[in-house]
Amino acid sequence: MITLNINGKTTGVDADPNTPLLWVLRDHLQMTGTKYGCGIAQCGACTVHLDGQAVRSCQTPVSMASGRQVTTIEGVAASALGKTVQAAWQEVDVPQCGYCQSGQIMSATALLMENPRPSEAQISAAMDGNLCRCGTYNRVRAAIQAASAQLASEQPGGAK
């Protein structure tokens, strides 16, 4: 039995310790917001946070997640930052097919957590591991910038 803390809740799962966190979330816990896209950390659809860092859950053995805080798309709105990012995604109307968007949002949230005012180049660098076949890249970029502006306006002394 492996004990996991996911979105603030403690859960026990009976899984082989080598099973990727992705498949524990999906097949064991039916938390289906985290997506399978490639299985080799090339597409970012499976991105979750481990202690606030973006990781590819398809390449993270579940044993590595034990004892750490796992945040998935289902729990991202529990933080003010996550809420801001989701609101920006809604405002810009980013998704098309939507399949990659959980991963995009998790990567964007991790970026803004570390760097609330990313430059264009920093956005590209942080998001380059997240693929979108529908081509929402420019809208994701716009949503990240909108969220960043919103964060700045919420800072004391920020542009209100």
Binding site: I73, C97, G98
Partner: protein, 727 residues
């Protein structure tokens, strides 16, 4: 609305053949009476005005005034879960804030008005539903008003509808749709439906936010892969490494011993491993030892195939279009140019790999999958399971991308999943890994082209001979009957046979090849290759004539051509010929019509250590009347990314029958770091709406190629461009 009938009489015999063959193929299922057509404009004409669609098939109004729209097209990112409700809500006079969407079950009432079966494809959802869905909304509104008038004992003409309410101004009485729905549903269907004039539109033409966005940003949107049933087993199938190969023998001792594995089964497509989840199924599949009878597919190697195709391209083929006399034309030509083109197989590589959930019982089969082709899948599943089509139910989930792969008239992934369910005897979810999906075939065909073109002394084109070589997509499918005429698959030559330029001597020929690689429509189908070939060659002619590429095209286009409008708009917005670009940057242009929509693109390109960098794309589009402008922007942006991925990097190649690519590391789509700025400009139009999902893809490859020529003097004649050494 006035609509034009096109080719209707000429198409009748082939349409009858289409219906007959479809019925035969689908085991006797009658698939409807509408006639398939090629163009979006024709759909509007043939969605028969007299056909009365019961509004309750599409609209459910609850007592609390919430409205559920049943959408009969699959949502794969193109926005139909928003645009089709817009058409209904406009005429229904509905409160947009109370509208939600469910996907339609399989049923004749949900058939495509042009194809006579339930499917989503051909950039046809809006053009084929434009008339139909507005009629559905108007019919419902008429019944709601009628019900209110009857209850109040007032003339209907004194009542009007707005914001999901019926109002009688004279008495000040009002009733909500929710309160009237039951009474309205009991009334006979109206036969006096009059549609609004476009000037009265309140919803159509306005940028509307997508109704599916909230579910897609909080993880709750359900894709096929997200369906879990009690006791369901995850199944991975080991398929032949060579197309057409069969299992000769297999050993599964190691696989069977793995914890979580429930069984290993031979199925027609290979060896199926059923397990408690994806990970044990995948781990066990890796342990299988399979000997394959590979068959003739093992002889296929891309380099050899390209050589064979190019040799064929030099031979006379079937004539797809002929005007004037090319032999005479070339004799008179002042200058001429000859070029060969190579265009590879491409995988669709939708973000969600293929998957199907099947719950099979002796007397019924329930399927959950993201499909674009419900009627065919339903019929094929029934045939496979030995059931009647009405015993098969399909729940269409959200599609994690489609791009044509999920519209397979052969229903490959659905048939296999039913076969797996028959073997396993429990509810199953058949999951394709990314590698399975990349190597699974049903590709955009590989093409080789040969063009000879000549110009007169004044630079005007005099002769053009284009020979195309590649597999037919519709061969041996029910679509062959009406899409292939005299041996020519219209999808093989579209964009080439429809060349709009005034060239007095012009001939287009086709060689349809056959081999074991399964092929299929891929966003923009034939246009994905022909636009590249013809629009780069036209650019060569402009250069040969010493003319500006935009002016040269304009001079060759008929005065009333809608190509001219988009070309001019793109040139104006990009500052073609005026704007000073940074050193080392150049513009390239292309214009193309597909799915009855016209798109011009101008790409600003530079080279970065020999690598092509696209900085900005200015697109102009004429797709008739605008339904959701924001949706048009999304589709053009996305189509450019899709086409640019293919232009720069996309290739599926074979060695001894084996697909050399496997995943996003060796079949790389465009990433953020390569993403250009995209501007989309829409031509105002009062023409009926035409396709928008695909027409943005074809022009990007030639626009970039033409810019690369300006930078380097080198013509791109092979895709993808990252094969070329550029300095």
């Amino acid at each position: 609305m006035k609509t034009k009938m096109r080719n209707t009489a000429a198409q009748n015999p082939s349409r009858r053949k289409f219906l007959k063959e479809s019925v035969a193929l689908m085991g006797g299922l009658v698939i409807g009476f509408y006639l398939p057509t090629q163009g979006g404009r024709a759909y509007a004409a043939e969605a028969p005005a007299k056909q009365v669609y019961p509004p309750d098939a599409f609209i459910h109004i609850a007592p609390d005034d919430s409205i559920t729209i049943v959408v009969n097209k699959s949502e794969m990112g193109q926005g139909v879960y928003t645009s089709l409700p817009m058409l209904i809500a406009e005429e229904l006079e509905a409160d947009w804030s109370r509208i939600s969407v469910v996907s339609a079950p399989v049923g004749a009432v949900y058939n495509h008005t042009g194809f006579g079966m339930q499917l989503t494809g051909g950039s046809s959802s809006i053009p084929s539903s434009w008339e139909q869905m507005r009629r559905v909304g108007a019919s419902a509104r008429i019944l709601l008003v009628r019900a209110a008038a009857q209850q109040w004992g007032v003339p209907e003409s004194e009542c009007h509808a707005g914001n999901s309410r019926v109002i009688h101004a004279g008495s000040g009485r009002e009733a909500s749709y929710g309160a009237l729905a039951d009474a309205a549903a009991k009334l006979p269907l109206p036969n006096d439906v009059v549609l609004k004039s476009p000037k009265d539109f309140k919803i159509i033409g306005k940028p509307m936010k997508r109704l599916d966005t909230p579910a897609k940003i909080n993880g709750t949107a359900q894709f096929g892969l997200d369906v879990y049933l009690p006791g369901i087993l995850t199944v991975l199938v080991a398929r032949s490494p060579v197309f057409g190969g069969k299992v000769k023998s297999f050993a599964a001792t190691g696989a069977r011993k793995l914890p979580g594995v429930q069984g290993v089964y031979q199925v027609p497509t290979g060896i199926a491993v059923a397990a408690s989840g994806f990970w044990p199924a995948k781990t066990a599949r890796d342990l299988l030892v399979i000997e394959w009878d590979e068959g003739p597919g093992a002889a296929l190697t891309t380099t050899k195939m390209v050589a064979e195709y190019l040799a064929l391209a030099g031979q006379p083929g079937l004539v797809a279009r002929k005007g004037g006399d090319t032999v005479q034309g070339f004799r008179k030509a002042h200058k001429s140019v000859t070029a060969e083109y190579e265009v590879p197989y491409l995988a669709h590589a939708a973000m969600e790999p293929l998957n199907v959930v099947v719950d099979l019982k002796p007397d019924r089969c329930v399927i959950w999958t993201g499909t674009q082709m419900q009627t065919m899948d339903c019929a094929m599943a029934a045939k496979t399971a030995g059931l009647k089509p009405e015993q098969v139910q399909i729940h269409t989930t959200f599609l994690g991308g489609g791009f044509g792969r999920r519209a397979n008239p052969r229903s490959d992934f659905v048939i296999e999943a039913v076969q797996v369910a028959m073997a396993v005897g429990k509810p199953v979810k058949v999951v394709w890994t990314r590698e399975d999906d990349t190597r699974g075939g049903y590709y955009r065909p590989m093409w080789a082209d040969h063009i000879e073109a000549g110009i007169a002394k004044d630079g005007k084109p005099l002769a053009w001979k284009h020979t195309i070589v590649g597999q037919s997509i519709v061969a041996d499918t029910p679509f062959e009957g009406f899409m292939t005429h005299n041996g020519i698959d219209a999808t093989s030559v579209e964009g080439a046979s429809t060349l709009p330029y005034m060239i007095p001597n012009l001939q287009v020929e086709l060689h349809s090849t056959k081999n074991a690689v399964p092929v299929q429509w891929w966003r923009s189908v034939g246009h994905s290759h022909t636009a590249f070939v013809v629009e780069t060659m036209v650019d060569e002619l402009a250069h040969l004539a010493g003319k500006d590429p935009v002016a040269y095209r304009m001079a060759m286009l008929p005065a009333a051509s809608r190509y001219r409008g988009v070309l001019q708009l793109a040139a104006d917005k990009a500052g073609w010929g005026r704007k000073k670009l940074p050193a080392g940057h150049a513009y390239g242009v292309a214009v193309h019509q597909s799915f009855n929509s016209y798109v011009a693109q101008i790409a600003e390109v530079s080279l970065d250590s020999g690598k092509i960098r696209v900085h900005r794309v200015v697109a102009a589009v004429d797709c008739g009347m605008i339904v959701n402008p924001d949706g048009i922007h999304q589709q053009i942006e996305g189509a450019i990314v899709f086409g640019l991925s293919a232009a720069l990097h996309g290739a599926i190649t074979l060695e001894k029958g084996r697909v050399m690519q496997s995943n996003f590391n060796d079949y790389p789509p465009l990433r953020y770091s390569e993403m250009p700025l995209v501007e989309v400009h829409i031509v105002a139009s009062s023409e009926p709406p035409t396709g928008i999902g695909e027409p943005g893809t074809p022009p990007i490859a030639p626009a970039v190629a033409n810019a690369v020529f300006r930078l380097t003097g080198k013509r791109m004649r092979r895709m993808p461009f990252d094969r070329e050494k550029l300095v």
